[in-house]
Amino acid sequence: MARLIAGLATSHVPAIGAAVDLGKTQNDYWKPLFDGYEPARKWLSEVNPDVVILVYNDHASAFSLEIIPTFAIGVADEFPPADEGWGPRPVPVVKGHAELAWHLSESLILDEFDITIVNEMPVDHGLTVPLSITCGEPDEWPFQVIPLAVNVIQYPPPTGKRCFDLGRSIREAIATYEEDLKVVIFGTGGMSHQLHGERAGVTNREWDAKFLDGLTRDPMGLTKIPFLEYVREAGAEGIEMVMWLIMRGALDDQVNEIYRHYHVPASNTSTGLIILENEGT
């Protein structure tokens, strides 16, 4: 049987990917951030998952205004890094897990989540930066990845509660998959940041800390945060954090917080990383 053993949430700032790609992770600006990633890398390599379900948002790369899926699952064998205007990132092609991705899609649709199934999908920094953060620069990514793309750009994104419930349904789907697989789920994006307008650069350390605390101890409380509060308190692009609730919904009610890292800034953004393990594991 497949087993979901842990969740990890992390920011997915493009500048973090650029720092890796340009060899700047040890300079004064980036070292404090990357030093904080080391324990997460160590943890992940010890856990050594077979598959990571990677919840992220596409930033107008695979999808555009032509078509805006609320939830899209990638069922292909491979996902190439996207060209976001400066050429594709020099990172390995992302290998999918088509069988589990199809199983998830089927199970979720039959459980009344209206999933979009995708076979052709370049993956942008939203997906590849979390891989760089947690794996460094390997020749091949050390696990298979199921991309789960969430619309958080075009209003309205799914509600926090809907995201949490999707996580719940993912948990059930994994529990009914027959192959023996070790699965970790990533929620990505955030933390407080705004990339546009005169208010660009806004951060909110207290709000982020409360969100991290709630993620461990009171996720149901977080599902009640309205869209307006995300925008006002965490910056317009801070709404990405609803994706962390999908990760959290997929875990057990009680989790152990294994690690937490918080740093400001990465480019325009407050960054956070948290690791939560199911108690039984």
């Binding site: 790369s61 060209d83 205007g85 750009i153 546009h196 307006l228 925008v231 400001v264 325009n268």
Partner: protein, 129 residues
């Protein structure tokens, strides 16, 4: 205060709702086209000719030609689209953010290093805090 007004109450923030999505459609799709290297080359070779392929308004067109990053947003551009124009011109997200908030790139970078733009005073136009 009704829903849309609640969002408008947040200073310096442009909700990418249906109104902006419709208004900015062709501006954003122009930016999207710059994901292909051959289109970036064509744009850089003759910006005006390239822009004529996209039925955007003259005002939107002007914001592109003048690198008016805030103007693009105000006319329906979305940052994840306009950042592709930024990348084509060699600008980072941070450069664009500085420009949109009316700051020199160095000043903006210093503000971020010092912890970012404070949330205090930036929550609400009406509430003032």
């Amino acid at each position: 205060m009704n829903e849309p007004n609640k969002f408008e109450d947040i200073p310096g923030t442009y909700l990418f709702d249906r109104k902006r999505s419709r208004e900015g459609y062709h501006l954003n799709m122009f930016c999207m086209s710059l994901m292909k290297p051959e289109n970036r080359e064509a744009f850089l070779a003759d910006e005006k000719v390239y822009l004529d392929k996209f039925p955007m308004t003259n005002e939107q067109r002007q914001t592109v030609l003048e690198r008016d990053w805030l103007g693009m947003i105000q006319m329906g551009g979305n940052i994840y689209y306009t950042s592709k124009l930024g990348a084509t011109l060699g600008h980072s997200f941070q450069y664009l953010a500085g420009s949109m908030s009316g700051m020199a790139q160095e000043d903006y970078a210093e503000m971020m290093k010092a912890g970012g733009r404070p949330i205090e005073g930036n929550r609400s136009k009406s509430g003032g805090k």
